[in-house]
């Protein structure tokens, strides 16, 4: 780096100030500039995502209704997709949240310490499995396994619109998709819940135990109130992930652009992401613009959910006194 020759024996005293100084300042300025530039680049990328998506979906927004793939208008095309996206994500959330809270409580307050560390690691692995593999598992294992259960649901609970049937014989239904998504977002919600549960102040916990509370009473009194907004924030993040999940849905779901609350039949609304993945490779011209417009809708929805989630989580951070 520096070309200064080694000063003999005596250490670097009275060093050539000018050269060294300019060099140091230049390096500093370069480095500060590069790191600030990287930060600004992130702003630009995010803005770029929005700008490019909008610019490429303008043709679809302004096109004649007759030219669109369904010949009924953009709203009629994207509407059912949004419905399907929300439905699948909500099922996943309803199933995953209680389980995730249970898991987080088990790992933080019930499991023996060594087992807890191992289990935390296993949950992290669950989060790392690629979504395409979840799709494979969903169609090959989960869907066939659920077929008898769907038959049972139709026979015994068919009076509820959700299970009115006719039950799918392949198991590739909205409910199956919801369950696969639930498995996928479980690690996300439980990881965040785990974090907030383990941060519950030891003083509160010990105070509760010292009053003679059982373990459950201690958790209800001191851990759950403390972790509530963390769990909500984690659930919202999981929801964001479920909304945007593509491959697992594309593989498992047997879709046909309808709007229905029937969760166990073989006619289901598709989701935005899955629809893009399935249609995009074979699309051209205006159809591409329509798909990008639907992607823009997904972007806006997930953006809203994520911002809400961050807001909830950060609000907790503000008065938890951490840091």
């Amino acid at each position: 780096m520096t070309t200064t020759s080694a000063p003999p024996s005596s250490p670097p005293q009275r060093r050539e100030p000018a050269a060294q100084k300019r060099k140091g300042r230049f390096g500093d300025r370069l480095f500060a500039g590069a790191s600030t530039g990287s930060g600004i680049l992130i702003l630009l990328v995010l803005a770029g995502v929005a700008v490019f998506l909008i610019s490429r979906s303008i043709p679809a927004l302004t096109a004649d209704t007759a030219d669109l793939p369904n010949e009924e208008g953009l709203g009629a095309y994207i509407g059912p997709l949004i419905f399907g996206t929300l439905l699948a994500a909500v099922i996943a959330l309803v199933v995953a949240t209680p389980l995730a809270v249970g898991i987080a409580l088990y790992i933080t307050h019930y499991a023996p310490r060594r087992l807890a560390a191992l289990m935390g690691y296993v949950m992290d692995l669950l989060a790392a499995i690629p979504s395409v593999v979840y799709g494979f598992w969903g169609i090959a294992t989960l869907a066939p396994a659920l077929v008898p259960f769907y038959g049972w649901l139709e026979r015994n609970l068919g009076f509820i619109p959700l299970f009115s049937g006719p039950a799918s014989v392949t198991g590739r239904t909205m409910l199956t998709v919801g369950l696969v998504l639930a498995v996928m977002i479980l690690p996300i919600i439980s990881a965040i819940s785990r974090e907030v549960f383990s941060q519950a102040p030891a003083l509160h916990r010990e105070a509760a135990l010292a009053l003679g509370a059982t373990r459950w009473e201690m958790i209800r009194m001191s851990v759950l109130p403390y972790g509530k907004s963390g769990v909500i924030g984690g659930a919202m993040l999981g929801l964001g992930r479920a909304l945007g999940e593509t491959l697992a849905v594309a593989i498992v779901l047997s879709a046909s652009g309808v709007v229905t609350f029937d969760l166990i039949s073989s006619t289901n609304p598709s989701t935005i992401a899955a629809n893009i993945a399935l249609q995009f490779p074979e699309s051209s011209g205006l159809n591409v613009n329509v798909l990008i417009a639907s992607g823009l809708a997904l972007f806006v929805i997930t953006l809203a959910v994520n911002m809400l989630a961050r807001w909830v989580v950060n609000r907790r951070a503000d008065f938890s006194g951490a840091n």
Partner: protein, 259 residues
Amino acid sequence: MAKRIDVSDLDIYYSSFLAVQGVNVSIEPRSITALIGPSGCGKSTFLRSLNRMHEVIPGARVEGKVVIDGQDLYGAEVDPVDVRRQIGMVFQRPNPFPTMSIYDNVIAGVRLNSTRMKKSDMDDLVERSLKGANLWAEVKDRLNRPGSGLSGGQQQRLCIARAIAVEPEVLLMDEPCSALDPISTLAIEDLMTELKERFTIVIVTHNMQQAARVSTATGFFNLSGVGQPGRLVEFNPTEKIFSNPEEKATEDYISGRFG
């Protein structure tokens, strides 16, 4: 090597908050100057302003002059990085670099600046600095072990060795013994009296016996009230401060009648 420090009308701000006001003092070369006073009175802030370390905190700035042998530290052309090479610092808690061996810690100032140096010169520098810090005998057989494996007192002497290895003119010490046990403290105090032959030393301490034992001159900092800036109330030879202080506040503080 050792140099004289002249401070005139120094005000130190954190953003808009005035932390230290109106310091005028002249610190003699080859002496130990102790700064005492209650917590939060600005003595550490003042110490840090002597080598521009306070600038690490965003928003910190000074008004006034700090002159070392005729050179103004806060002149427009002066790079704080160069100032810190001339004025070394030892901190309250020993902070050897955890990724470096004892050897590398001592020559960290050379290594981190990527200055080229012959291996034999480096060996000499390490030995000279560690001997200067009274640590050579204890660590000469394990120079390649991590510096964080030493005891607290040894770590602090390692940090002193690291500071004197860049051959500064002034050595600032910010409560260097407050995290140490009495025996390690004694070792560092002995070391300071040796080092004052070569360096100008300024030390902040909460321990008044320590100030009385090692220093030649003592400055007493105090706050006139909550939210008020700290001031240098009295600066005199140590003997005078501890036997016959000029200011009432100094006497109250030293005799323990401080409220």
